[in-house]
């Protein structure tokens, strides 16, 4: 049984907006085991990025706030920490890289300075040591001429290079956990593969724990050991990557996988999922996927499903896996076309 390094329990992150409270993350629970890569997959608006930001407690204020939940790390609940205590963990124990390498670096400061700053705020490496380490970090993330790069400004670098710089910056204090929020989305396809391989290698080399946030189920097999699928601010299914891809249980996961282009299904029409994610200000009463679900029952629109255990022990949030057979047999709804 792997030991959980980070435990997230019933996390709720809400936003107060002009059209009501948006429950972007609404009861998310998962464990992050030491030395593994967990991928959280979901469409835009599913709450996956907000989940990652909640772990760092960097939810955009003042609209966003963590309503309730527990984030257990090192025997403590991170949500009980003061802002200052949390700050000393950021960048040191928990590091994060972001989706937009174009805008995520400060445009008016040199790359080297920004990496050194990450070390100097925590005091782990200083002065010449920090300088040396900056060069070796840049080398480690596959930048060929570190001495030249440290003197340059972000605008002088390509998107892929900037993302490598972001990774070097995140690794600078040997973090226990790396949160990668869509690290490849804004990049060219060829560069995407390089960055993913880099992340996978670094994770293996350094024995790091990684949380990868992505909308692209196609890339998870490359990097992740386990996958959590998010929909409507909740995790609907969690499983080992291989098992999830080969044997998806939740109708949403099944739909996602069916809509992936693969070599085996060449020439066939791709499956398309109808409809869009409902608005987080007005989640439906029942299952949040019900409106798009091809296997929904009448019950699905009335009652929100609990997390049930499927055959191989994986948690799935769907009435299909409810141990009580009663309701299902009684009133199945017409299968949506």
């Amino acid at each position: 049984m792997p030991t959980p390094l980070l435990e997230v329990q019933e996390l709720r992150t809400w936003f107060s907006t002009s059209s009501g409270i948006a429950k972007a993350v609404d009861g998310v629970s998962f464990n992050l085991n030491a030395g593994e890569t967990l991928a959280i997959v979901g469409e835009s608006g599913s709450g996956k990025s907000i989940t990652a930001l909640s772990l760092m407690q960097l939810v955009p204020e003042p609209a966003g706030y963590i309503e309730s939940g527990r984030i257990l790390y090192g025997g403590k609940d991170l949500l009980d920490l003061t802002w200052e205590q949390m700050r000393s963990l950021r960048g040191k124990d928990l590091a994060m890289i972001f989706q937009e390498p174009m805008t995520s670096l400060n445009p008016v400061m040199t790359v080297g300075w920004q990496i050194r700053e990450a070390m100097e705020v925590h005091g782990k490496y200083r002065g010449d040591e920090a300088r040396q380490r900056t060069l070796s970090l840049l080398d480690k993330v596959g930048i060929r001429d570190p001495k030249q790069i440290v003197k340059q400004y972000p605008y002088e670098l390509s998107g892929g290079m900037r993302q490598r710089v972001m990774i070097a910056m995140a690794l600078s204090n040997d973090p226990k956990i790396l949160l990668a929020d869509e690290p490849t989305t804004a990049l060219d396809v060829t560069v995407q593969a390089q960055i993913l391989d880099l992340l996978a290698n670094l994770q293996k080399q350094l024995g790091m724990t990684m949380l990868l946030i992505t909308h692209d189920l196609g890339i998870v097999s490359r990097v992740a050991h386990r996958v959590a699928v998010m929909y409507g601010g909740q995790i609907v299914e969690q499983a080992e990557t291989k098992q999830l891809l080969s044997n998806p249980q939740h109708p949403y996961t099944q739909g996602l996988i069916a809509s992936l282009p693969t070599r085996a299904r060449r020439g066939e029409d791709l499956y398309t999922m109808e409809g869009v994610v409902p608005a987080p200000t007005a989640w439906p009463v029942g299952c949040r996927f019900a409106a798009r679900c091809p296997r929904k029952w009448e019950l699905c629109e009335r009652v929100i499903p609990d997390v049930y255990t499927a055959e191989d022990g994986r948690p799935v949030r769907c009435h299909l896996y409810s141990p009580t057979e009663l309701d299902k047999t009684k009133s199945p709804a017409e299968v949506a076309s």
Partner: protein
């Protein structure tokens, strides 16, 4: 850098010629020299000869284009000629006497304003979304709606007459002058506080919502360092733009302040010229104002290049 400055100076020449043309057009094409002479000659009913003599003395007898060339050449060589009014002293002598008090007031209030307003904006931005923020921004809108004139009147009345912080009016040269410019500088700073602070706050808040700020926070940088290191340097670009647009406002300020506090600077000279309908002096002032503004634009661009590595001087 030097190449850039040379190019900018060369580019300033056609602009200044344009400025000369505007003033020439205004003062020479719309009013006949006879009228000018009548307005400025001390005799009540000047004879034709007196008018002729005055025209010759001030160069108004030549053809129009010759006059334009002469005056423009004069302005470019800082040879402003004689004043049109009675006595007709050399303009340059008066300018030499009066630039220092104006410079004192303008530079002191410029620097003090920049520091005070930027600090205030940073503090307000730090407390963004709180009642302090709402209160401060509302106060700014209220203060912006008060006329400059009232700031001067109230400033003199409250600070000078009631609190006796400094002399009400007047001027003495040397270090003593600081005592006299204190009041005008305070008034200038207070009157410009609201609009600048509000604007700087917007600039800072625009930056605070940028992605790189989130990155800095994710690195564990403290909130105050985020604000004073990362945000401030980025917000400097729009702040610099705004300070340049303040240069013409400094002119307005010095004109009113000097006149009100009776300080013998350029502004006071200008007001005297307005009262005497002395076009030659007004013309010289317009030219100098244009030069200062153009130099201000140039310094902005240099400031950009110093602050923002993406800007190249070309």
């Amino acid at each position: 850098m030097i190449g850039y400055i040379i190019r900018r100076v060369l580019y300033a020449i056609p602009i200044l010629i344009g400025v000369c043309f505007i003033t020439f057009f205004l003062f020479y094409m719309t009013i006949s020299p006879q009228d000018l002479a009548r307005r400025n000659l001390s005799a009540k009913n000047p004879t034709q000869q007196q008018i002729k003599a005055w025209e010759i003395q001030h160069g108004y007898n030549k053809p129009k284009w010759q006059q334009f060339v002469d005056t423009t050449k004069g302005l470019f060589l800082f040879d402003f000629g004689r004043s049109d009014s009675v006595g007709g002293g050399k303009i340059i002598t008066r300018l030499k006497q009066s630039w220092l008090p104006s410079f004192e007031i303008a530079s002191l209030s410029f620097i003090a304003s920049l520091i005070i307003n930027l600090t205030a904006a940073l503090i307000i931005a730090y407390f963004r979304g709180t009642y302090l923020d709402t209160f401060a921004t509302s106060l700014c809108v209220v203060m912006m709606s008060i006329t400059y004139l009232l700031y001067i009147i109230a400033g003199q009345f409250v600070l000078g007459r009631l609190m006796r912080i400094s002399p009400i009016a007047g001027y003495l040269p040397g270090w003593e002058s600081l005592r006299f410019v204190l009041l005008p500088v305070i008034v200038a700073v207070i009157s410009g506080f609201a609009s600048d602070t509000r604007l700087y706050r917007t600039f800072i808040l625009d930056e605070i919502n940028q992605d790189y700020v989130r990155t800095a926070r994710a690195k564990g940088v403290s909130e105050s360092l985020v604000l004073f290191r990362h945000v401030l340097k980025n917000a400097a670009v729009p702040v610099i733009t705004n300070t340049v647009s303040a240069i013409p406002a400094l002119f307005l300020g010095s004109i009113l302040l000097e006149n009100f506090f009776n300080i013998p600077g350029l502004g006071n000279y200008l007001v005297d010229a307005i009262n005497n309908q002395d076009f030659a002096v007004v013309r010289a002032n317009v030219f100098i104002g244009a030069i200062i503004t153009i130099v201000g634009y140039m310094m902005t661009d240099i400031g950009y290049a110093l602050v923002d590595p993406r800007v190249r001087l070309e």
